[in-house]
Amino acid sequence: MQRRRVLQGLAWSGAVASLGGCAATSGAPSSAKVVVVGGGYGGATAAKYIRMWSAQAIDVVLVEPQPEFVSCPVSNLVVGGMRRLADVTTPYDGLRNRHGVTIVRDSVSAIDSRARTVTLAGGGTIRYDKLVLSPGVELMFDGIEGLRAANAEGRIVQAWRAGAETLALRRQLEAMGDGGTYAITIPEQPYRCPPGPYERASVVAAYFKAAKPRSKVLILDANADVTSKAGLFKRAWSELYPGMVEYRSQHRATAVDARTLTVKFEVHEDVKADVLNVLPPMRAGEIAVKTGLANANTRWCMVDYQTFESTAAKDIHVVGDSIQVAPLMPKSGHMANSHAKVAAAAIVAQLSGDQPIARPLLTNTCYSFVSAEEVIHVASVHEYVAAEKTFKTVAGSGGVSAARSQLEASYAMAWARNIWADCLA
């Protein structure tokens, strides 16, 4: 009961802290009950729901370097030329104005889990009671020889974080002549957005079919087979783009030559392309690795799945693509939004002196465009199983589309606009 009373006083202390912070050079408050690092699907959702579920009693600071939220889901349509980057961009105004989240445009360079402070790259520290870390993924450029330099030169881009590279890849495709080859390489699982590379190959094929019909799409996959919606993707490729899309499994990229746009593989022969889109292996966002929170093989962050609290540090909750996933849990924006709600509920409960929810539930729905008009999905429901301390898919739930359809294309765009609002508005 005493802690509940303390919680009610938080709105005031937050306001005072914010005022105090105005005097500091960085403009950031010096403390907050909750600090959220990263304003993607996971972090933005956590910030909003902690405010909402505490009736604005818990002050929340969100640290994010980007001025706007640019969605990875649907950004493949920008690569394919069917949408503009503005169509997948949402401002952070809703979090600030409707939910009272303090947004600090900066990134975090260090975390002290004992002192419970984060250090901002731009200077200054913020003290927290609870930290939500949603740093997304870091691309492991050094896993593929020559790739870091090729990326720096802009010769080989990834566009696996939506934004400038999405536009750069689009420009490369537009500049390519008819009869050219677009090649995408896919790392071994787990990586961000399992169906994403196959969706990208599909919408690039749709663009070629309309604008450059003699061109080819080559999918070079380190995995043994298409990792998501395999039957639906393969059927779309053979029926919509016969002779244009070629899929090759077990192709693990080891090196690139930026000058000749050639990619080398562990076993198979080199492949030369006109537009080369090499996706390296991925791991938890840099801050998580640097701080030792990525304690699963120094790659992903292990969490207590009931609360998403790190197993490496108390009062730090990690959500989104950077966690070590439970079985059959994809690294997706929808899943990050789901993680964030479980973490938000746990944080609101714990700061009120209550127990976290005993059996949290997660959903996931991933829509993929196979052309400008038609879409397929995969869906699942995951329940926390206390006896095994993990999430498992609920028996009998989930599945994929019966067939690709235009109806699901309308649902895909509705999903996007609703989840963007659920994260940010």
């Binding site: 709600k341 059996r359 429901v381 659920d422």
Partner: protein, 110 residues
């Protein structure tokens, strides 16, 4: 029915949640308990925060729907009698108690 096997594991906290939610709905005062709001938030990714989708979008609004209709729809999706693209797959993830809690929660919203 596969989802029923999950029911005993998740029902304990929710029975309380359903009762509290019903009380809150009739009294129109305190918000629903956190467990119920968190359960309902699993619908929000597609149907909008608190069941209020972005205006003009294809997904139906859940806030303010009659309780019986929501409960019947979810059960019909779950047993396959109501055709769907995705809801028949998602509804199978929810127990009877959870469906009743969701129906009561969304019916009480406007």
């Amino acid at each position: 029915m596969p989802s029923l096997s999950a029911a005993p594991f998740r029902s304990a906290s929710l029975v309380g949640a359903v009762l509290l939610c019903a009380t809150a709905a009739s009294a129109q005062t305190a918000p629903a308990p956190l467990a119920t709001r968190a359960l309902a938030a699993t619908c929000a990714n597609c149907h909008g925060t608190e069941g209020r989708p972005v205006e003009g979008e294809a997904m139906p609004r859940l806030a303010g729907q009659p309780r019986e209709a929501l409960s019947a729809s979810l059960r019909a999706f779950r047993d396959g009698s109501r055709p769907a693209t995705v809801m028949h797959q998602l509804a199978k993830g929810y127990s009877n108690e959870e469906i009743d809690a969701l129906a009561a929660y969304f019916a009480a919203l406007r």
